[in-house]
Symmetry: C2
Subunit: 475 residues, 2 copies
């Protein structure tokens, strides 16, 4: 009987957000039933899910996929010629000409090549090999896959991964699920959530002896922090990983969303290869990307990849074998990935509209980010580091001692209390800092700004009113 | 560094089929390059992948999904009204109205209800609860999920699952990946691959002491055997599971493909609930289904579910939590699942064409199955049990001793030698019995017949010629 559950599974902690999700579902139902509330609808900015928040999909993506699914559309005259051609090309790469067939376990070779061409262009000519590209049902599956490769079995010291704090919860739950220990390193809020190598060194030293730290996980641009690493910072991290023989896991799913004026995205791969052979031939790196985030926002289609660099050929062999135990990933997600990495080019019929839609999405993000920081900056008891990238803001809440005490009595973190009240009283669902990890005694709030401006404006209005009332209630 | 790999990962054995796949890829390339071969193309019947083998998708499925992806099609006047309405209904059930959003982690509630309604109808009124339906990227993911729940951690006796021999390799690899031991039970070839409870009892007794057998896995209709269990046989298995307190894993993905004249599919759930409260209130059951197999054949879209019955509420709680560590499954696969479980009804505009396409597919399967068995029955040194369900035939090869000796010298199983030669000399890729497990000293061949008749006819012609030549070479 299934009474006893594996300790590996038990280790996965319940998500604080689960309670908020349940509460949000209840409020939504009550609103539908006509229960009177001080707000007419619920604004849920707790997910990094652009379409859920009302952003529109890119037409070209949807046209190509619709034609692949229902080729009769090719004769309809309703699709741009380049969308038709792309669909025909991709269908020809599917077994039996159908997106309904399994693909090779690492993905459609043609899409792997689109990915490597993208990486080659992005990194200014650093070579990329299709053999190193593994396509999954999203970057989370790719992360779990790499953790599975990493995790040592029973009897050995527990494998550990250096993990930023704050981070996003899906990653820490994936660690637990794979039986991998988290060695937390603190990002420096005062310096815009920068990653400090001294901190890495400190926690690595402290961890040795009671676990086996084998990898360093970084997420750049940051979730939830919005920090974008400089080339110098990336160099330092790579040097540290090389010295300590750590495997580098670079989560770069927000690479398409860098909006600070002075910041640019530079990939770990590019920096690694520009640091010379001493590094480029030896440091093991996994870099992740996805169709879910940024301007594409296709979370529901499930498409992401990992590029594995400098792995031992024996390990690569195991990686291939491990993948062969899994069914291939969703073909529709693979097609979205093909378009993300090989978008319409100048001169193509869809180029003007594709570029316009991407720009609109990016402009919205930049404007929203500015607005959110302005409003937060004007609130008493709130401080917010400048956000340079990603799709979230993560302000610090300086909560009144009486609110902190009440939360303590209720056995919850003070920012969870804050979020529960914000949800109940203002119909705004945002994520509490405790879900992401934070320095003890500090409190935060995470919300996604990838939403039409009017939605964000309304959300910020409600937050402001609630916040002032909350402060005065507990002052 | 990633030099050492987890023993859990190492335990996954290389697939015999991998070599055949590589060889098939090489032959395909050579044919493209114009290398002369005794055949003009490669026929790959080793996969259970209908579209790869040239079967056509169901139009209604593709119309609905295309419209969900690209709603501009709703105004095109090119889609039947019920396809439009279904698309609108499903989009309304997606967050933000987009199939690009994450869904709830167990799947879209509306689709869960379509699944429970389907089960209710299929099982003649046995109730089904949407809370027990978990939707995944295909049934393989669902199986891995259940195995993860089942697997006990380090330090405890290794969890084991009673598993049929022959079975299909993806399942045994999933067992290895989850660190679960396989306790093989032999199906009885002489009785049409029937499942014998005495055999279950024998292997269970023998296994106790060196592992912890917690579950019994059955696949009905069988893969690769094509056996369809009678109600009486299912009752016996349920009684055995109840006595021995084993969790029942019923893989029923071929439930839509029963074609023997005297056999019908009866679900484990239905039988369980008709055996009275003594059983229906206590036996833990997981039943799996998928959009990949049978007449839908949408392997590439990734959609499947498991229904969990009689699980301890605490275990259900853990199941929910475990799922929340994963991103929701592909929305397109969920939509296909909605159509599989809630197809067009009499009176709907698409009903005639949908039914016709389904019937065509099923007629093809029945005719192909008959033809394959006829041809195999006429071959010397081949015997084949009658196939009642599923999409494969699994004939036994009585190979000449000299062929068996040669294989031994080469360090491979004799049926792998046979398949390698069949591939090289006749351009036909079929699966060797050794990949599926078989009684020592017996040899088999698995191939899928879900393909247009002319394709199967050509494949059987080549098989026949090759087989005669092979026998005479080694006689």
């Amino acid at each position: 009987m299934l009474r006893e559950i594996s300790p590996r599974v038990r280790r996965i902690l319940p998500s604080e957000q689960e309670n908020l999700i349940r509460c949000a579902a209840r409020i939504r139902t009550e609103l539908q039933q006509g229960v009177k509330k001080p707000y007419k609808d619920l604004i849920d900015v707790s997910w990094g899910d652009a379409h859920r928040l009302g952003m529109k999909p890119l037409s070209f993506v949807r046209q190509v996929i619709a034609a692949c699914l229902y080729p009769a559309l090719l004769q309809s005259g309703r699709l741009p010629i380049d969308a038709q051609q792309r669909a025909q090309r991709l269908m020809a790469e599917c077994e039996g000409g159908s997106v309904g067939s399994y693909t090779a376990s690492r993905g459609i070779p043609h899409v792997q090549r689109s990915v490597t061409d993208f990486i080659f262009r992005r990194d200014g000519g650093v070579p990329s090999n299709p053999e190193n590209i593994f396509i999954f049902n999203g970057s989370q599956c790719a992360l779990s896959f790499v953790l599975k490769l990493l995790a040592q079995g029973e009897g050995l010291p527990q494998t550990a991964v250096l993990t930023p704090v704050p981070t996003y919860q899906t990653f820490t739950m994936a660690l637990a699920e794979q039986g991998v220990m988290m060695v937390p390193y603190q990002l420096c809020e005062e310096e815009g959530w920068a990653l400090k190598v001294e901190e890495l060194r400190r926690v690595l030293r402290a961890s040795r002896g009671h676990c086996s730290p084998r990898a360093l996980y970084v997420i750049n641009p940051g979730n939830p922090t919005g920090h974008v690493q400089s080339r110098k910072s990336i160099e330092e991290v790579i040097r540290f990983a090389a010295e300590e023989k750590l495997f580098l896991m670079a989560d770069e799913v927000y690479q398409g969303s860098v909006h600070g004026e002075e910041s640019v995205f530079v990939s770990y791969k590019k920096v690694l290869f520009e640091m010379g052979q001493e590094y480029s031939d030896s440091v093991e790196l996994a870099s992740f990307h996805s169709v879910s985030k940024g301007f594409m926002g296709e979370c529901g289609l499930r498409g992401g990849y990992v590029e594995l660099v400098n792995l031992d050929p024996a390990v690569m062999g195991v990686a291939h074998m491990l993948l062969s135990t899994m069914s291939s990933s969703a073909v529709i997600g693979q097609i979205a990935l093909d378009i993300l990495t090989n978008p319409p080019q100048p001169g193509d019929p869809s180029y003007p509209s594709y570029s316009k839609e991407v720009r609109l999405s990016q402009d919205t993000l930049v404007r929203n980010m500015r607005l959110a920081q302005e409003v937060l900056g004007g609130l008493p008891g709130v401080s917010c580091q400048v956000v340079w990238g990603g799709i979230y803001v993560f302000p610090r809440l300086h909560l009144p001692p009486r609110a902190v005490e009440l939360a303590k009595k209720q056995g919850v973190e003070a920012d969870l209390l804050y979020c529960s009240r914000l949800l109940e009283e203002a119909g705004v669902c945002a994520g509490p800092g405790c879900e992401h990890g934070q320095k003890e005694g500090t409190y935060h709030l995470r919300f996604c700004v990838m939403t039409p401006p009017e939605n964000l404006e309304e959300m910020l209005r409600r937050l402001k009113t609630f916040h002032i009332r909350f402060l005065s209630e507990f002052s």
